[in-house]
Symmetry: C2
Subunit: 437 residues, 2 copies
């Protein structure tokens, strides 16, 4: 255990929990001949998955090429049981098997995952009902106040040290960056995102802002530093808040920022702006009316609200593996579902922007840095954890790249507010990204 | 009948139909004393309407001030029956009585209507169920192919001569303009709208565009002239198409534009862009899946679609008077309802912009010109028609001003299209409005 994780453990009073099954890697290895029905199962599985360009290498070295077409990837299985769990519940098993080293990939993992997303998306239209039911993702777990604390702790309290290895060095942003220009660095793009959000909120010095879910507090510090506003930022991750407060102190911004350790549902007061970057995914649909009521009462009559969230083109459950192993309780809404928040509160939507491909690029930058620090991560946790995290990053790149996930920024106001920005020209007058970071 | 309306009648083979009841103005005038329960009814009516700042002047000259507060407007009634129909069905009766000269207003009509919209919107939360049912707007009439033809003829075939009196002189746009700067003329703002739409579609020379509902064809000509694209524009209003074709011929753009007299549902071919400005309001919710399918098959894999429509903050029926007298079949969707189109077709929404206050300004410009030409309109039709149209324009200004109506531009693509504009910077590089028109 490193010094910093030791410190962290002391602060939170709890051991950080790597959340994948902890079997020794490749423990299930078997080398018997595959049965003929196992070959048939693979052919069937690949047909149901829309015939992605994949070849299999089985536990005994046999190669199976299910499709006539040229395979671009090889999936290697260490044992027959890996095949059976893949067939029974591919959404969950693919990630678990990869994490456990029982499934391996030749070829770029994000590219393979993207090919899978695309072929499954096309194929599932013609799945029989029983298959659709069998391979269905499960409902997300509860996001009540106490469960939310547990859900968030599970992911965000893994240790600031860990996230520092691969997030941007400017403001530790664990949300989609804004690649205003294609060649921006991760640091530039994350600062451009913060700037873009501030512009959408039309901040002016002296205004007050409330933030629901503040991560390591970078947006609040950016707002205080560049716009001279007063920010109240809520978060239930103690790890993140400790970092956020220390940073604000060091940057002499603590007189402008209150980092509050509390659930967003307990926000009090009225503000010129309500902002939430990357929290809605964790809110849970059943809490949308309450979130709407909260924004209704927290936003001044002329105030502007912005929610930034992962989303979908149409309602669909979160991938089972991600929900179970990475983001408990996560549910990315379609815009139609998102509108339940806006309609419930009689809000008026001014602006929706979709930054889907920006998230693919952000994740690609994260994964590059993660891979550079793989050994360090395995030292901090173990190799299962490292593989699980690679699967999560690669799968997320693929999902945004294939259009399975979207990234929405939605700006809205009270329905009777006529003090609106005339248009969006003011967002684009100067570059949002700093020249050098 | 003027020469041009005579020509028009000849072309369409049908008399244009002014569509308000044709009693002589003020024919119902009565001067008896009001009963005490009539005074009580007025007080009750105003309380249910949220106590707007209105004073009544009754048929015999008696003045009733239902609220303690200062009245900013006077409603004058010519007869007791006017009061009864107002109480029974205010949404429908207000416009009908005004058109018939049985209700008159002292004060600016749009301001009165806005005050009414705001006070009723606040008050209706606490209406008893029976009142909500009594004052409910009715369902819009059908928008099947044959009914749609009738619905559109009803409004848009009133005569190009009529619309020319008060629409912009640049391109006869009968949809929301884009006031990029607050002091633009109507002509500049309408051309800026066309430019803004073209930019959102990222048009390049040689591309092909299909337009559903083209009005007098201005967008198609603008696209052909400024972007060198080839446009197929569909419309079922013969009057408008005759004008559109003649204009294209005179501007030597007819080799680039096909104006097609047909229902949008019969669109054929595949295009780089699908655009529809101000038609969705007439499509009817029951036709959204078919519209979605149509866009799905008409849009090339990398194509961009844009729908521009009047909308709502939450689902709500169209005002009864507008639906009955002005726009048969009209239904402005909320974004949530709008998303039925996008979700059905697995489209990905890139951009939503709300231009609500731009429509209030557009309508204000239209009403100023309409008022300048009031006598001319009464000559062409009659005074009922003129009053009905004023009510329509004033009520629409009020609805956009009060937030009862919204104006959405929604940009979307196929869900698996990755050839997306990086961001929206390109929409704002130079002013969209021409300097002099």
């Amino acid at each position: 255990m490193t010094q910093s994780t030791a410190q962290k453990t002391e602060q939170t009073g709890q051991q950080p929990k790597p959340h994948v099954l902890n079997l020794p890697l490749g423990a299930a290895r078997v080398d018997r001949e595959p049965h003929s029905y196992e070959r048939w199962l693979i052919a069937k599985l690949m047909r149901m998955a829309g015939s992605p360009p994949i070849r299999f290498r089985l536990w005994n070295g046999d190669v199976i090429e299910p499709n006539g077409q040229e395979a671009r990837f090889v999936l290697q299985l260490t044992d027959p049981k890996a095949l059976y769990s893949l067939v029974a519940n591919p959404n969950l098993a693919f990630g678990d098997l990869y994490s456990a080293g029982r499934l391996d990939v030749e070829g770029e993992l994000p590219d393979l995952m993207e090919a899978l997303y695309r072929s499954v998306h096309a194929a599932r239209q013609s799945w029989p009902k029983w298959l659709d039911a069998l391979w269905r993702n499960h409902n997300p777990r509860s996001t009540g106040i106490s469960e939310a604390k547990e859900n968030i702790h599970h992911h965000y309290d893994l240790g600031n040290e860990f996230y520092r290895l691969w997030l941007d060095r400017a403001e530790m942003q664990y949300t989609c960056a804004y690649y205003e220009q294609p060649d921006l660095t991760l640091e530039q793009a994350q600062l451009a995102k913060l700037e873009h959000v501030c512009r959408k909120l039309r901040l002016k010095p002296g205004m007050t802002v409330v933030e629901a879910g503040c991560g390591w507090g970078g947006l609040a510090r950016y707002m205080a530093r560049h716009y001279g506003v007063r920010v109240h930022s809520y978060n239930i991750s103690r790890e993140q808040l400790a970092y956020a407060r220390e940073e604000a102190r060091q940057q002499k911004l603590d007189h402008l920022i209150d980092y509050v350790e509390d659930d967003y549902r307990n926000i009090e007061g009225q503000y010129d702006a309500f902002v939430s970057i990357g929290m809605l995914e964790h809110v849970g649909k059943e809490n949308y009316p309450a979130l709407s009521d909260l924004i209704k009462r927290s936003l001044k009559p002329d105030g502007i609200a912005l929610l930034h969230s992962i989303g979908r083109n149409r309602p669909m459950l979160m991938n089972a593996w991600i929900e179970k192993r990475i983001f408990p309780g996560a549910y990315p809404p379609s815009i139609g579902e998102f509108m339940e928040i806006c309609e419930h509160g009689d809000f008026s939507v001014l602006d929706v922007e979709n930054l889907r491909l920006h998230y693919a690029q952000t994740l690609t930058h994260w994964m590059e840095r993660f891979d550079e620090n793989k050994d360090r991560v395995s030292e901090m946790y173990d190799e299962h954890f490292t593989r699980a995290w690679r699967m999560y990053l690669a799968g997320s790149i693929a999902a945004f790249q294939a259009g399975a996930l979207q990234l929405f920024q939605v700006v809205f106001t009270h329905g009777d507010n006529n003090h609106l920005p005339r248009n969006r020209q003011d967002l684009y007058i100067t570059p949002a990204a700093p020249e050098d970071v």
